[in-house]
């Protein structure tokens, strides 16, 4: 691939404090409002967090807020139980093996499609895009039985797809694509036309434009997409349950955790601990990508 010189300045991040420095000093009302919002969103999770350190008897007898006041009677028993269960770490790795490719596939495949929908001309362009958006509404449950039948019949070089990790990431890619294409098409279509014209005049091919202009300029929206897709796949129970059902060795964390509750009917204090364990990775992903949301990455290139 030739590295065509591109006449347009690639947008760079604004120097620290550029925009932020010009900020008006926020009033105290703003701080109060934001504090109330944070409280409203944090209290339910805080309740779960506190409950995860209490015994079942304590949680059934009194509210979680009573536990905050000393004397503290917290226990690591729930976490101890969850983390030391046989197969816990295997399913943790399985979750990564399902979620990472499903996320990469959705981002790349939808970016290809978004670029084609936004900047290429072909008959039926709008009609096909409308169909893709229409697919957003297809409830996942509708597809389970026909797709399961497909997986049972399909084999890849003598390799049965049904019950494999690959079947799950392929399915998740399909389910995630309509939202991804819709989101990216909207953003990529908003990039300034002049940028593409300039690049074309400089002799840049489509692959160059895509990898060196479109992808870098779409970082904020791709970061959001990665977060959503990662969360959906990581937390998904239904798809994994249906396609991996018969093969426990391939179960991801979500299925293992759900079994935890059903096997020991009603022992939901373990779920509270398990919920926090399973949240760790998505939260790390969120924090890792958070910085890409900063203003200035697109240099104001996006119309809306």
């Amino acid at each position: 691939m030739t590295q065509a010189p591109i006449a347009v300045d690639l947008p760079t991040q604004e120097p620290a404090g550029g925009r932020r420095g010009k900020k008006r000093r926020p009033g105290s009302v703003l701080h109060v409002v934001l504090t109330i919002i944070m409280l409203m969103w944090a209290v339910p999770t805080l309740g779960l967090f506190v409950a995860s350190f209490r015994t079942a008897e304590a949680t059934n007898a009194s509210g979680w807020w009573t536990a905050i006041i000393p004397p503290w009677e917290f226990t690591f028993g729930n976490y101890d139980y969850v983390l030391n269960r046989a197969g816990f770490w295997d399913s943790f790795v399985n979750s990564l093996f399902i979620t990472i490719p499903a996320t990469v596939l959705v981002v790349m495949v939808s970016a290809f499609a978004a670029y084609a929908f936004a900047w290429m001309h072909f008959p039926g362009r709008n009609a096909i895009f409308v169909v893709v958006v229409g697919l957003l509404v297809v409830p996942l449950q509708v597809t389970l039985i026909p797709v399961l039948a497909l997986f049972r019949d399909a084999s890849l070089g003598g390799y049965e797809l049904n019950g494999t990790i690959m079947a799950v990431w392929l399915a998740h890619t399909g389910y995630g694509l309509p939202f991804a294409v819709y989101l990216l098409r909207n953003y990529v279509g908003g990039l300034p036309r002049s940028l593409f014209e300039a690049a074309e005049i400089d002799g840049a091919g489509h692959a160059t434009i895509f990898f060196r202009l479109v992808l870098p300029m779409s970082v904020p929206v791709i970061a959001s997409l990665v977060i959503f897709q990662f969360l959906w796949v990581w937390n998904d129970l239904l798809v994994a349950l249906v396609y991996l059902g018969p093969v426990p060795a391939n179960h991801p964390l979500s299925v293992t955790l759900a079994n935890l509750t059903t096997n020991f009917g009603g022992n939901w204090q373990f779920v509270t601990a398990a919920a926090f364990v399973s949240m760790v990775v998505p939260i790390l992903v969120f924090f890792a990508l958070q910085r890409y949301f900063v203003r200035g990455i697109t240099g104001g290139a996006v119309k809306g």
């Binding site: 919002i37 339910p44 490719p101 929908f117 309509p178 294409v181 091919g205 904020p220 129970l237």
Partner: protein, 324 residues
């Protein structure tokens, strides 16, 4: 050979981390290399389809084909061996419990997007002005990282009737308020379930709208301020119009979530106490009652309900294209 590859976890890890992206990048590079060998006219005609091919392939196999199969199935009887005309649809529109599910979905579709978009936009704009932006965003976003099973547990703690364990009733007790059975009193239980949805999805709206907000040029906002616009006018006449396409994306997404609402209802009430929604009705018919034909018909009703959303979207999409 593939079998051995997949059974080796190290190989699987390599495929997962390096193989998948490599294949995708190579695909585009190969496509473009091939297209340079054909005439300009041919390449211009073929290129869009090759860029779209992976997406269309996935969509075809996992969404289009199963949907068509389902529509076909909705006109068949329970066993799927004979056509039954509109019988499944007549069943759906003549029963009180399915009609309640329909009513509840209307509530979801009206309230969830309204609350989520308003709160998401408000928080995105407010948080943009403070230094602890990341903290607020993380707190509001946190529920998105929680699985529905865990969210169900959390909100059962919140809504519990017993003021000793239920957070909301404990708070009401504190001010000598009444004790409310949040989840079994119709119709407020629907509102309570929708609020769980608001709690979970506002993070999504906030993140997308915030990304859009960051994309608005700093110079533009500064220019408006220099021209004498106050903050409210900047929001009303600069930010809002520029964010309109993004708001439309978020609203559409949330409306569709509202139409498909399943997990929250399934986990919290399983549709009891007049809280059922269409997707849960379908799930019950499919897996509890073994009524594939009826389940398929319910799914088709859900699809039809989205037609107005789609029409609005197409209109907006065409307007946007004209501006470009």
């Amino acid at each position: 050979m593939l079998v051995d590859l997949f059974e080796n976890r190290l190989a699987l890890a390599l495929i997962v981390v390096l193989g998948v992206p490599a294949v995708l990048v190579l695909y585009i590079v190969a496509v473009e290399a091939l297209l340079t060998r054909v005439s300009r006219r041919v390449s211009a005609a073929v290129r869009p389809w090759l860029w779209l091919a992976p997406a269309l392939g996935f969509l075809g196999v996992f969404l289009v084909y199963p949907t068509l199969a389902t529509i076909y199935r909705s006109f068949q009887n329970r066993r799927g061996d004979a056509f039954s005309g509109l019988e499944n649809y007549v069943w759906f529109f003549t029963r009180s419990d399915t009609l309640i599910a329909l009513r509840n979905n209307v509530l979801w579709v009206l309230l969830l997007p309204l609350l989520v978009v308003a709160l998401g936009l408000g928080i995105a704009v407010l948080v943009d002005r403070v230094r602890y932006e990341v903290v607020v965003k993380s707190v509001v976003f946190l529920p998105m990282a929680i699985s529905f099973v865990a969210a169900g547990v959390i909100w059962r703690l919140m809504y519990d009737l017993n003021p000793n364990t239920g957070t909301l009733n404990a708070a009401l007790d504190l001010v000598n308020g009444p004790r409310v059975a949040w989840l079994s009193t119709s119709p407020i239980n629907n509102l309570m379930l929708i609020l769980v949805g608001v709690w979970m999805f506002t993070g999504l709206a906030m993140v997308i709208l915030s990304a859009g907000l960051k994309g608005i040029s700093a110079e533009l906002l500064e220019a408006a301020r220099i021209d004498g616009a106050n903050e409210r006018e900047v929001f009303r006449f600069v930010i809002l119009p520029l964010l309109a396409p993004t708001i439309a994306v978020v609203a559409t997404t949330v409306i569709i979530f509202a139409l498909k609402t399943f997990d929250i209802v399934y986990v919290m009430t399983n549709g009891n106490f007049e809280t059922d929604v269409i997707a849960n009705t379908m799930y019950k018919e499919l897996f509890a009652n073994g009524q594939q034909g009826r389940a398929a018909a319910v799914a088709v009703v859900l699809l039809l309900a989205t037609v107005p959303v789609m029409i609005l979207n197409v209109k907006r999409f065409k307007q946007q294209e004209e501006v470009r």
